[in-house]
């Protein structure tokens, strides 16, 4: 056997190199923080120092009293409307996204032209932010619930197509091969391999989008003049901060409840 050259541990400088990298990365981040502050005339120390005062102001102005609570039914009604619109737009988007994902996944694509068309449609609708969708649609549809629905629909659709395509590719690759090898038809492969294997993960993505959309719906409502967002905007402009804090609190609680529920559902199906 050849004599091997045994290296000295002292020559192996892997750890030292890593420490140097970490050190320089830290320097760069600190430089960026102060550089950005200098350019934008923002003083970090002053910014941090003003936080206690801001909170004091918040507590002084936003703690709501009993008389504000009498408006609660109205808040809840609009919040409920907002939640429903998010759920309806997400589930509708999920159905369409499912069809487009099957066309757009390499694994299940019917033909390449349709595949790229599906991917392009999804990419366009995904890369226009939901706020931009709302502003564009409000011009043509006016300020009503349908505009909010459509804005959420398009943004959700684009995101879900992409998530679904990845799910299909990941979850059902092997099974699709096996069923094709038995001589199964295309619809059979979709029904027996793709859907059972990908469905739980797809459902989980849909629940995630419902949660996200309840948050976005508030913002969209602000722009389209519907739902809880509209109410928020209204009281905010009247400088009625007690109502603003009540609405914010209601939204936070609603989102927490929805998250908790979707986690329950997720645990059941996965």
């Amino acid at each position: 056997m050849d004599k091997m050259n045994i290296q000295h541990a002292g020559d192996v400088n892997i750890i030292r190199k890593k420490h140097m990298k970490l050190f320089f990365a830290g320097l760069v981040i600190i430089a960026l923080v102060f550089g950005a502050g200098a350019v934008t005339n923002y003083n970090h120390i002053e910014g941090v120092m003003s936080i206690p005062a801001a909170f004091q102001w918040l507590f002084a102005n936003m703690l709501f009293s009993g008389s504000t609570l009498s408006n609660l039914p109205n808040v809840l009604r609009l919040l409920w409307e907002t939640i429903l619109i998010s759920i309806v737009s997400t589930t509708t988007a999920a159905v369409f996204a499912g069809i487009f994902a099957i066309m757009g996944s390499k694994l299940t694509a019917v033909n390449p032209v349709l595949m790229y068309a599906a991917k392009l449609t999804a990419s366009v609708s995904r890369n226009i932010p939901v706020v931009a969708w709302a502003l564009i649609l409000v011009i043509s549809f006016g300020t009503n619930a349908a505009t909010g629905f459509l804005a959420l629909f398009f943004a959700t659709f684009g995101f879900l197509v992409r998530a679904f395509i990845e799910t299909i590719d990941e979850a059902s690759k092997d099974t699709v091969e096996a069923l094709r090898a038995t001589g199964a038809t295309y619809p059979q492969v979709i029904a027996k391999a793709v859907i059972p294997e990908a469905m739980p993960q797809m459902f989980s993505w849909m629940l995630f989008m419902i949660e996200t959309n309840i948050r976005s719906a508030t913002l969209v409502g602000l722009l389209t003049g519907t739902g809880i967002g509209y109410l928020f905007d209204l009281y905010y402009k009247q400088l009625n901060y007690e109502m603003v804090s009540l609405i914010t609190l209601a939204i936070v609680i609603a989102v927490l409840i929805i998250e908790w529920m979707s986690n329950l559902i997720r645990r059941e199906i996965l």
Binding site: D174, A178, R180, G183, T185, Q188, A191, K192, P196, E197
Partner: protein
């Protein structure tokens, strides 16, 4: 070579245990040398097959061989030799770039649609990673083997006849997994999953079963069970088994004929007993040294 006898002894030691746990096999340690296999009818002729994925690099290069009825044919070779591609060319999961395949007197490479599906029902396939629908039951997975015989609607709505369901139960029982019938496939062990895979192939009533590294993810005991099942299937039902293996020992022990693949070319095609160190070095290339040292 020393190690080899050791391994044999180990295998013999395991034998009793395996039989107790798994299945009462016929205790034929020695492969019954069925000389008849050499004049069994040819059911598939493969000639001049080339496959190139991109550019000039050929994954398969001028592949030609016959497949006979009821034989166990092993395809061995180093990783990247083209074993998996070759297997998938046989049932046209991968399209070859050139060549011809004749199966039961018909040219398979020109088949389309219904004809292609009907050809695939005659060729079962099992996989290294089992490729079962994990979230469905064993029973449903076995019935998936019948999809090729069904039209789309019958398949989608699981409209199987009572006789078909009965056959599924029989095959599941025969493979010793009847207790798992209701279980979801992700609850099974590797060996059990592979038996579900075999059951799914068997219910197709195929002429050939293609096996892509069927024991590569299994422990020695389960591997042995699966190989025994495959050999039994070929002996008792006259179904041809074409199996990709990277374990030379298993190939020698269980097959009637071995094809050695290297760099997309067939470098050996013959009796497993005639494989000598020289042949091994031709199949595995420079890896021979490593094989001996190990």
């Amino acid at each position: 070579m020393v190690l080899k006898t050791k391994e044999r002894q180990q295998l013999a030691g395991q034998e009793k245990k395996a039989d107790d746990i798994v299945f009462p096999f016929d205790s034929d340690e020695h492969r019954p040398l069925d000389t008849k296999k050499d004049d069994a009818p040819v059911i598939m002729e493969i000639s001049n097959i080339d496959k190139a994925y991109s550019g000039d690099k050929k994954v398969l290069n001028d592949i030609a061989f016959d497949i006979r009825q009821g034989e166990v044919l092993s395809i061995i070779g180093p990783s990247g030799a083209g074993k998996s591609t070759l297997l998938r060319v046989i049932n046209r999961m991968i399209e070859p770039s050139r060549g011809s395949i004749t199966f039961q007197g018909e040219d398979t490479l020109s088949m389309k649609g219904r004809k292609l599906r009907s050809m695939r029902t005659d060729i079962g396939m099992i996989f290294q990673h089992y490729n079962l629908v994990d979230r469905s039951s064993v029973f449903e997975n076995v019935l998936h083997g019948l999809l090729g015989y069904k039209n789309s609607l019958q398949g989608i709505f699981s409209l199987y006849t009572e006789a078909e369901k009965q056959r599924a139960v029989e095959i599941i029982t025969e493979l010793g997994i009847s207790e798992q019938l209701y279980k979801r496939c992700d609850e099974l062990s590797g060996g059990q999953k592979q038996r579900v895979g075999i059951a799914r192939a068997l219910i197709q009533d195929p002429k050939i079963i293609l096996c892509d590294e069927p024991i590569a993810s299994l422990d020695p005991n389960a591997s042995r069970t699966i190989m025994e099942y495959l050999r039994r299937i070929s002996r008792e039902r006259g179904i041809t088994i074409v199996v990709n293996l990277h374990q030379l020992d298993a190939a020698k022990q269980y097959s009637d004929r071995i094809i050695g693949l290297n760099g997309g070319r067939i470098v050996y095609n013959g009796n497993p007993d005639d494989i000598d160190p020289d042949t091994i070095s031709r199949i595995y290339g420079s890896k021979l040294d490593e094989l001996i040292v190990e």
